[in-house]
């Protein structure tokens, strides 16, 4: 029954938890107090804040840029900015939103620079962080019993990248945050300093463009 179709939709990717720290796990001093201590100059408190978010930030930057090096640079710049401007944080939003706002801005800058450079080819990183070479036909042990499927996957990956490249930086950012990071449109709006409505419309444009591009490349 067509009316049932909606019921089988997945409810969207689950929200990715802000990363936990490795090593002796220290749960949050109520984050407000930690931030206040950091604002008062405590490097220990700031380091603890960084630990709560740096992995998630790195993951986002890695997926958007396709480069470990670029991701590192973005992560570094984001937290240095946070350190420098921590005094400006006035608890009007969550710290998570604030730091992501900084990161998304840096990512947008990166995407804009890349668009204007054009000779950069983004790469895809697989689950172990290795660059997936999308252009070779060499099968490896990962393709296992089905080398044809592996090739298909790589080829699809290339098409996806190429489709994503056609989006404007903002469209790509919204799509990334919604589809790959599982954030809610309202949060995305806050992070990009815009409204939920605008984020929605950007998402619509992005999905339209992606569909058109993927269909074209088939």
């Amino acid at each position: 029954m067509p009316a049932d179709a909606l019921r089988f939709l997945s409810p969207g990717k689950p929200r990715i938890q802000s990363s936990r720290m490795a090593g002796p796990v220290r749960e949050n001093l109520p984050e407000t107090d930690l931030i206040r201590e950091a604002q008062a100059g405590s490097r220990t408190a700031f380091d603890a804040l960084v630990r709560q978010y740096d992995q998630a930030v790195l993951r986002l930057a890695m997926h958007l840029t396709g480069s470990e090096q670029d991701a590192q640079d973005i992560q570094q710049e984001a937290f240095l900015k946070a350190y420098r401007y921590l005094g400006n944080f006035r608890f009007e939003c969550s710290f998570y939103t604030w730091i992501y706002r900084i990161v998304t801005n840096l990512c947008l800058d990166h995407l804009r620079r890349r668009k204007s450079r054009r000779e950069d080819q983004a790469v895809v990183l697989d689950s172990s962080g290795e660059e997936m070479d999308l252009l070779t036909n060499v099968s490896d042990e990962r393709s296992g019993a089905n080398p044809a499927r592996e090739l298909d996957r790589k080829y699809l990956g290339q098409r996806i990248l190429s489709a994503l490249d056609e989006l404007t930086p903002r469209e790509r950012m919204v799509f990334e945050l919604k589809h790959y990071q599982g954030l809610r449109l309202r949060t995305i709006g806050e992070m990009l300093n815009t409204t939920e409505e605008t984020a929605k419309n950007t998402l619509f444009r992005a999905t339209k463009k992606l569909r058109a591009k993927l269909a074209e490349l088939r």
Binding site: A5, L29, A40, A45, D47, A48, Q55, Y83, L203, R211
Partner: protein, 323 residues
């Protein structure tokens, strides 16, 4: 609902953003509209296709390397965040304290030599010990302008049609202050020392002294000192520092639930056995508390250290005997 709206709602539905009432309306529309049903399939297919692009998890070594790089970069930011923050914090503090003109205009250099705390000038010491015991003498501050450095140039103005220039700049003037641990100015400096990381010895010693003051119940009721000790207990990498901070929080355990919770957490999670032991003994006055008992029960069965398990069990038995 028309098809244009439906198609937007389909995207929202696929991404879990469609409110329930609109979802219902959409279902109604889909029941009668073949085009939109195909649209739903297409968007669902897009979502599946885009998911083929893997979300790589940063490798542990990448995370570690990145953290190290960030650490170094933060350490190398002296005239950036940290110094400015100290200045701001100090300027806020200076308005509260009796501000000598020297302090209002000077900036502190980060390195308060640990040795300076140990020694007091003989003459000053004699003067202090001769003073009536219930009067705290005002602390003495000595500037060393000969060793001052230029911190930054804030403006340069050229007088038109001349070669005359006005330059505004600031100097970092090293200063030394002698006073007692009770003195608010000294306390303010200890707090700064405990928060900064420019010198590990200064940091550790500052936490130690603050904890000592609190433990001796020398009017440590202020929030900032207690918060600094709590942050040190939870996050400092040096076990000795965490232990001192823990001991400094002792007077607050019975009166402040946040302190009690911080100590319970240390008991559950601190990797150092001495700290966990100390935490148990400090919890004695509140051992009848249900949250304390819960934690003691967990520790009694799950702690790695047999001695700690034994001690926890003993405490639990004591409590049940009292009741």
């Amino acid at each position: 609902m028309n098809c244009d709206l439906a198609q937007e709602n389909i995207v929202l539905a696929v991404y879990g953003e469609l409110p329930d009432d609109r979802a219902h309306q959409l279902e109604q529309h889909l029941a009668t509209c073949e085009r939109c049903r195909q649209e739903l399939e297409a968007v669902t297919a897009l979502q599946k296709a885009m998911s083929v692009l893997p979300m790589a998890e940063p490798s542990p070594s990448l995370v570690a390397r990145t953290r190290l790089r960030l650490d170094e970069a933060l350490d190398a930011m002296p005239s950036g965040g940290w110094l400015r923050r100290i200045t701001q914090s100090f300027m806020r503090g200076a308005s509260r304290l009796q501000s000598a003109p020297v302090m209002a205009s000077a900036l502190l250099v980060a390195g308060l030599a640990a040795g300076a705390w140990g020694g007091y000038r003989a003459g000053l010491h004699a003067a202090v010990s001769q003073a009536p015991p219930n009067i705290t003498p005002a602390p003495t501050v000595v500037s060393d302008p000969d060793n001052s450095q230029i911190a930054g140039v804030s403006s340069i103005t050229l007088e038109p049609n001349t070669e005359n220039v006005e330059v505004r700049y600031s100097r970092l003037v090293p200063q030394t202050i002698w006073g007692t641990l009770d003195d608010p100015q000294i306390r303010e400096l200890l707090l700064l020392g405990a928060r900064g990381r420019a010198d590990a010895a200064v940091h550790d010693h500052s936490v130690d002294l603050l904890a000592q003051e609190c433990r001796a119940r020398h009017e440590c009721a202020g929030g900032p000192i207690r918060n600094t000790l709590m942050v040190s207990l939870r996050y400092d990498k040096n076990a000795k520092v965490r232990l001192k901070a823990l001991q400094g929080l002792e007077p607050y355990i019975a009166v402040d639930t946040r302190v009690r919770d911080a100590i319970l957490e240390a008991l559950l999670k601190d990797p150092d056995a001495d700290i966990r032991s100390e935490a148990i003994s400090l919890l004695a006055p509140v051992e009848a508390d249900s949250s304390v008992r819960d934690v003691l029960q967990t520790v009694a069965s799950q702690d790695d250290n047999p001695h700690i398990r034994t001690v926890s069990r003993q405490y639990l038995e004591q409590v049940s005997q009292i009741q």
